[in-house]
Amino acid sequence: MSEEPGFTLDGRRIPFQDGQTVMAAALEAGVYIPHLCFNPDFAPHGSCRVCLVKVNGRMQASCATPAAAGLTVESETEELRDIRRGILQMLFVEGNHVCPACEKSGACQLQAVAYYVGMLNPHFSHFYPRRPVDASHAEAVIDFNRCILCELCVRASRDVDGKNIFAVQGRGIQAHLVVNTPSGKLGATSFSIHDKAAQVCPTGAILTKHQGYNIPIGQRLYDRKPINVVGDVAQLPESKGGRRHD
């Protein structure tokens, strides 16, 4: 059996299979690269830009970069940490993210990645957009203030649930998540909390009703361990090379 091809990520050899991206190969090797719009269950989207890495000296989104033998990839550098922090800060000021008042706090990927890249304040001026909350659905609520336009719910509803309930409309800073009904209300759709689309939001934009704070703040997933340890990198079985960092 010939040796699998590999590339170098922060000095470590990462094996990959043909067709894998840098992100997918790293994840399989148990190495965390910060990300938000990427989810191992879906095709890469490449919009959040948090997973930026330096590939042979050039900045590229690791989720959209095909792995190739001999690549030299840098991820955990001061330069990339600064850039990722800047991107996180942009997301925080674009919407209205009030962590202390959010049910997702502690289980929120956006918050966890922000901590991971050392973001301690939003830095930029807040945009304070006005985005009404949609509580029309019996089981779920959408708080558009927390949407980061990762389109995971769009993709999940369209590609997995077969319902095509969500879409992003508008251009530039006007881009926004919409619900595909004439009224624009989630209550008028066939959305269910058992849908894949209800499970994939990396922020608190889509929440299940009637079950606030079942797990107390402080004991939630990213409260206990940082996201590079307990995120999707930890969900990989040992047999597939999954290895915890702790």
Binding site: I87, S125, R171, G172
Partner: protein, 607 residues
């Protein structure tokens, strides 16, 4: 039960959809046609279009929301959009905009209550050498002045159909000031097609290699490599796409080529089709050049009649190629080739993840060559005259000639064709720019250079350009231009990726803060940091180049920023005193204690 009115709507929509063969790839063209009939696209109209095309309504709504020239709110019967490039501003467009709004008693961007007219602004319409310019219902108006606007106001008030407006209002001059091998030599229609039939595709590719021709849109990818990659890509169905989405502010050379040399462009596309094995081509014509559409269609028909297009070209039964024209609808990002392909497919124009590249996965995922207008025209000439002939001009890495679009502060704005390697200084002398302090090269996405650099050369080795060349003389405030450019990028960002979607707004706010005298040294440093993030982190070239004008001018024209800075080390992004106004109103206070003095303001704002 359908109401009569809504059944009329169904009729209208169905008729238009059927004229486009009910093809979802024609969605953008369908929406344009529907809007021409109804002046705007109501939710109900969009749902009907979706129904007739059997596609999801949200797809139709997404497209309608994306393009600037598609309206999802009511517009006046006369929709007047002033071109708002910095060159239009230099020519006084803002004053004219307000003048016309006053004459018509309508607010900027608003529809007049009687539904007659809307007056607004739009990104550069490519008439920088004959501005101030505007569009009325998509048709180009040039050389606006107050007497002309007086007349336009009367025509609008009397609801005179556009066909009866004076023709000279719509006249677009070519203004070719300097011609070289592309514009200056006669070309016999069909000569390049005869050459490829006589010599074969391999020989033509050899000439392209010898010529060294690179993409003239500005990116400079070798034409021969692109054509060969597509030619060798597996698959029987391939496409040729001409990028005539000339959206870079200050560029208008493709407009002149499409107006005066359309045959040459179509011939280059047909040649490409023969070489790569494609039978179908598209011209993606920017919406702002709608005035060219009828004449281009007539030219295509003339070529079909002459056996230069269609089936059995020049009598060869194996030579089949035809061309469709797609009209854009106001989206600069569609100049990026993968966004352009998305738009051609009837979608909103978000750039794709690359690789794969269009030469293997382009239009409808088929191998596709996308080249700029000027590139196709040049390729046709090379096929006839030979690669060596072309390569005898230019520099080592930049063969041949380049069309420049000159505008701004010069005596003779227009089109100039130079061999690559010409110095900026020479161009300035030729166009009569006596007092230049700076040039915005290659548009806002390009680079700003100051007089210190006027000996630099225009070529891929030094100053690469798609052709935009905007001159700022000593009387201009560079920051006016920079602020205009930051607004442009906010408007044109597609919104897909974070650093562009959010970063363009942050940059505009920082520049505005300094421009209005509220900035400090800290803000200049913020611009640099933000710009650096955008340059490396954005998904496509739009976001990556959006901070260029700011970063360049910080280096080249530091005094333009410095003289506006406050002496403090930090100023908040908001006005603290103004923010207290709500509280003052609620409490009914107007005493001095309810106001912050300057000192309080500073202390309160210290980090």
């Amino acid at each position: 039960m359908a109401e009569p009115e809504s059944s009329a709507l169904t009729e209208t929509v169905r008729d238009i959809v059927q004229r486009h063969n009910s093809m979802p790839t024609r969605l953008l063209q369908i929406l344009r046609d529907v809007q021409d009939r109804l002046t705007w696209l109501s939710p109900e109209t969009l749902d009907r279009v979706a129904q007739e095309l059997s596609i999801s309504p949200n797809k139709v709504h997404s497209v309608a929301e994306f393009y600037s020239f598609l309206y999802t709110a009511p517009r006046g019967c006369y929709d007047i959009l002033f071109s708002d490039n910095i060159t239009d501003r230099m020519l006084g467009n803002r004053e004219l905009l307000h003048y016309l709004c006053d004459r018509l008693s309508v607010g900027i961007g608003e529809m007049r209550a009687d539904g007659t007219v809307t007056v607004g602004t739009t990104s550069c319409t490519g008439m920088c050498d004959q501005g101030p310019a505007a569009l009325v219902n998509g048709y180009t108006l040039t050389r606006l002045d107050k007497p002309r606007l007086d007349r336009i106001a009367e025509l609008v008030e009397s609801r005179t159909p556009l066909e009866q407006w004076p023709r000279e209002f719509f006249e677009v001059a070519s203004n070719i000031r300097r011609a070289d091998i592309l514009l200056g030599r006669h070309f016999a229609d069909g000569a390049a097609l005869r050459a490829v039939l006589k010599r074969g595709s391999e020989a033509i590719l050899e000439e392209m290699i010898k010529s060294g021709l690179r993409g003239q849109g500005g990116a400079g990818f070798k034409l021969a490599a692109k054509w060969m990659s597509c030619r060798n890509a597996p698959g029987d169905v391939k496409y040729v796409v001409c990028n005539a989405d000339e959206g870079e502010p200050g560029t208008f050379k493709d407009r002149v080529l499409m107006q005066d040399f359309a045959d040459l462009v179509f011939e280059g596309m047909t040649l490409c089709g023969r070489v790569i094995g494609a039978h179908h081509g598209f011209v993606y014509l920017r919406g702002e050049y709608r005035y060219l559409l009828d004449s281009l269609k007539a030219t295509l028909q003339r070529r079909r009649d002459a056996g230069l297009l269609g089936t059995g070209i020049l009598g060869d039964p194996t030579f089949n190629f035809d061309i469709d024209i797609h009209l854009g609808a106001g989206a600069y990002v569609c100049g990026e080739e993968s966004a352009l392909i998305e738009s051609l497919e009837g979608k909103h124009g978000v750039p794709r993840i690359r690789p794969p590249f269009p030469t293997t996965h382009g239009y409808l995922n088929k191998p596709t060559v996308v080249n700029n207008v000027e590139t196709f025209a040049t390729a046709a000439k090379i096929a006839v005259e030979g690669g060596d002939w072309f390569a005898s001009r230019g520099t080592a890495e930049s063969k041949g000639t380049k069309l420049l679009s000159l505008s701004g502060d010069c005596e003779r704005p227009g089109i100039y064709e130079y061999p690559f390697g010409v110095t900026v200084r020479r161009v300035l002398e030729d166009c009569g720019a006596r007092d230049a302090q700076g040039i915005q090269m290659a548009g806002p996405a390009g680079h700003m250079i100051s007089a210190r650099e006027f000996d630099r050369r225009i070529c891929f080795e030094d100053l690469a350009t798609g052709g935009s060349f905007m001159v700022f003389d000593q009387s201009r405030d560079i920051l006016d231009g920079i602020r205009n450019f930051t607004h442009f990028f906010v408007h044109e960002s597609c919104g897909f990726c974070t650093p562009c979607r959010v970063g363009t707004s942050l940059m505009r706010d920082l520049v505005t803060k300094v421009h209005t005298g509220h900035g400090t040294l800290y803000d200049l440093e913020e611009m640099r940091k933000l710009g650096r993030i955008m340059q490396v982190a954005c998904h496509c070239g739009l976001g990556q180049t959006a901070p260029n004008p700011v970063l360049d001018s910080l280096d080249q024209f530091p005094e333009a920023y410095q003289r506006r800075l406050r002496a403090t080390t930090f100023e908040p992004a908001f006005d603290l005193n103004a923010a207290l106004e709500d509280a003052r109103q609620l409490t009914g206070r107007s005493d001095s204690g309810a106001y912050l003095n300057e000192e309080d303001l500073l202390l309160g704002a210290m980090p």
